[in-house]
Symmetry: C2
Subunit: 184 residues, 2 copies
Amino acid sequence: MKYTKRTFPLDEIRRFVEPGPIVLVSSAWKRQINIMTMGWHTMMSFSPALIGCYIWPENHSFEMIRKSKECVINIPTVELADEVVGVGNTSGGDIDKFATFGLTAVPAAKIGAPLIAECYANLECRVADTRLLKRYSFFILEVVKAHAPAASTYPRTLHYRGGGVFMVSGKSVSFRKKFKPQNL
Amino acid sequence: MKYTKRTFPLDEIRRFVEPGPIVLVSSAWKRQINIMTMGWHTMMSFSPALIGCYIWPENHSFEMIRKSKECVINIPTVELADEVVGVGNTSGGDIDKFATFGLTAVPAAKIGAPLIAECYANLECRVADTRLLKRYSFFILEVVKAHAPAASTYPRTLHYRGGGVFMVSGKSVSFRKKFKPQNL
């Protein structure tokens, strides 16, 4: 499935990130492109749009992101569950994951790492801070460009529970009227 | 609703944290106890069990946690949606949130901050690292004791999308057989 995307406001990307979905991280280094599955990430700031994330140093992507200082956080939906599991179970040191899992690499606007076309949203990121990298393998990324559908619906995302089990995002409930405007 | 909880293995708390629920953070300082709603957090390590989280310095809880070096991350279920919104909309500088929202403070085992009895799981945390506090308002917490039901079911959690809208966690899907054991 592919989506018609527009440039998405950076200060609104929390709607994709804060609910905690599993994401696919794409990277590029020395003419190789790669993908990894990632579940340990969080919003850290609206503006600049910062995302913190843990990446295991054993992952092939770790050095690609560290050296290129760029990556894309792609938000897959439940239709991509097999690809999410397959990407997480394999190494970019052994295979071309785009080819193996039939995913389409699309050039990004501001960085060298590719977008994954089949994902609902794509967040182009530059590494903004590496001070926690050595001790915690924790990257602080700045989102510099976001692509997502304009529709007001929400994607059905996958959320990892460990042990091979994913939770699929359920219904949305609005409490808008109960919130103070500054707390929305 | 209250749950019968046991001591939960620290290296398994990712099942509650990684899917990205909104959480209630309880703290204590100088005989005051308080609660805040938090959505920006991530697992950072299994062992020690580390959770990184952003807390807005304007929150009354920020200084309470910074000074006491402790807090509890409580996992509420959908039945507590009104309390989650209410806690997020008010300040502990103005009201006693436990009393206002009818929540029960239970003594923790290892720290001074109280557990919230009505929540599905409770993670007692000590502040482990403050090096990102000044620049990013980001605490690194070590979970030192966890309480949760032994049942193999999963809680129906709330996940914040912004704009007053929550996603309620949906069905679980197992891909256990497709995972390599080391990747579970």
